[in-house]
Symmetry: D5
Subunit: 92 residues, 10 copies
């Protein structure tokens, strides 16, 4: 079941460099593991913004919420979620 997710990141300006680097590395590792698991199926950067549009494919709402809530950057993000259904004209 697909969801379109938009994440807008806003890091605190007073974050120290090491903490920031460590945080972003954990975020990246987490995102890549979920891609390998087939759960985070697309991940695109919004041009000009510290934001992404993503497609998630999970079995239910609770699963998606747990995944998003566990994002290392979760508390620094605005996230919006749109449920997607099969389109009658889609070939696949």
């Amino acid at each position: 079941m697909k969801y379109l997710v938009r994440m807008d990141v806003s890091l605190p300006t007073n974050l120290d460099v090491r903490e920031r680097t460590e945080l972003l590395e954990r975020e990246k590792a987490y995102a890549q593991q979920l891609q390998r698991d087939g759960v985070w199926v697309h991940l695109w950067r919004v041009v000009g913004q510290y934001a992404n549009y993503s497609i998630f494919d999970v079995g239910d709402h609770d699963h998606l919420h747990r995944i998003l809530q566990d994002l290392p950057l979760f508390s620094h993000m605005d996230i919006s979620v749109t449920p997607l259904a099969t389109h009658p004209s889609a070939l696949s």
Copy 2:
């Protein structure tokens, strides 16, 4: 080059049934041809709405505009376009 496109359809209420059917069939054939061509790479229905989110993959803005402008439903749609870049954490 990827674009996220959202289309919201609003058909005139006085459209006669035959005209409507013919219009929707042309729209569907057009959408499926573009999918076969590898240009309209994803097409999802927004749950509960006469709307879709789509991913297009084309070489430049002019090409995308021609494709969208030639949609049989173009004059009955609100369309918004977001350019997407490669995300540094994306595996593919």
Copy 3:
């Protein structure tokens, strides 16, 4: 799996009385059947508006979209859908 759905109805002003009555009766019968089926689990009127907030409980997005699209009033409504997850403080 729960969804919060808001529906805002806007009937065309030129609808004739019989057509309108028949449409609203079909809508009511449809809504009540879905309630008996355990799919449309709550249905409330927004005070002062021709609108409702509802809770649906269905297995997946496609199922919810089919249900909403088949509403007799579908083409006269603005519908918005919010997916709901289990809350950690909820007792039931």
Copy 4:
């Protein structure tokens, strides 16, 4: 008498861990007591957000305001309230 309530939580980033834990535990205990009292009748998490949609069932506006104002997280929340009436098509 039913109200749909949406709460969006935004904790200060400089809250210390112990204070935060203690605050969230008080919030949870308070929310569960109100559920047991039959006042906070539904509580759902908005997927991907630190927010909930809830249904309250109380006798009047003053009662609802006292309950919301006494939420341990009240000063860290944006709250919106929509009064709900009985829907003529609702079975229960």
Copy 5:
């Protein structure tokens, strides 16, 4: 129990003069009866607009919804409703 209600009127431009006059007279009579009943306790015109802000005092949401739905102009209005509680600094 008090509610702040805002009503924005938008009459169809093709309404014939007699129908319009009759409609507005029924609206006025209805509004004045509710004022005499102590239910519609304040009624003010928004300067420069075909709109009003009103205060209603009724026992519950269902009662308010019935009153608003029965307004002769109901189908030509946008209505928004804000529940009001007692303010701790109010003298009366």
Copy 6:
């Protein structure tokens, strides 16, 4: 001459308790004096929010602005003002 005024309060989180108490007491005394003077004619709490809707009755815009600007909480508030005229259907 009547004005509808909405005030949304947002106190700084780092205000110390004594300062906060003293500020709120001055606000309350000021609001009650204006009510006794017949200037602040209604004061209601917006349910679920640190906000109020009020009706002021003053002779001119300058008078209203002086009153609002002198509110002890003025610098912590968002205020919006709507001028109200006599409604032709109002009985009083």
Copy 7:
């Protein structure tokens, strides 16, 4: 007492030419009379739009509402009104 007023005009597309001309002439005569009376003290066109910003100087809200409601174009306009007070740095 000053008010900033913005008027956005939206004429029905099916208005016949003679009716339109007559309507606009009455609007102009009315606007100029109010300027001569010292009531409509400024009148500016918003560049690129069928809209104006104006300053009115009247004794009270009821007077302003009567003036605006009697505009020949009133039923084809969106009007917003902002009350203006004396600014402490203004020389006149």
Copy 8:
């Protein structure tokens, strides 16, 4: 003196084909004459929309308003205008 202008076109659906063609030809001729005159210095299509962003270079506001008001499509457009100043980092 530069202005950024955005025009969103919305043609009536019942326009007959000949009238529409004639209207669009006049619009095009007018736009091209203004480009030759050095007044309409840039003209771009917004991808996916019947809309454009343009740069005008004229001596004063009145001149720009006359130009826009004389657009054959003026009554079918929403137009917004943003005045642009020289940027201190601009090379030309």
Copy 9:
């Protein structure tokens, strides 16, 4: 050439009293000099808000931008600018 300018002031809460007083005095002196110069032709307070609506009369956009950018409060303001043209019904 006229511009309608709206300025919304938001002073930092931690500004010390002397700095604040000095800043506001410079702002006032600057505003009054521009009024004497015939550039800042009207200045009104928005009732209930730390905001003003103003009319500027300058020869070009660059001049207006320099004036606004040099306001002592510039970095604490949100400013919006609307270019105004001569209205065909204006007497002066």
Copy 10:
């Protein structure tokens, strides 16, 4: 391929003067180099605001994103990007 880009700058108020000067000098040098390279083809100041509208001409989305992300002021800006296509009435 053209993009309209709007950048709104919001510098932290606690930035020290030297850091601020150095930051703005790097921003200016960077902007001017991109103009010399033919990539940042127009740069205008929005009158009255710490903001600009710009036109970029680059080969693809990824290139534009890298350029914007490398702006020395990137983390202090809100940026929005609109893809522009060739307009059929444009002469050049």
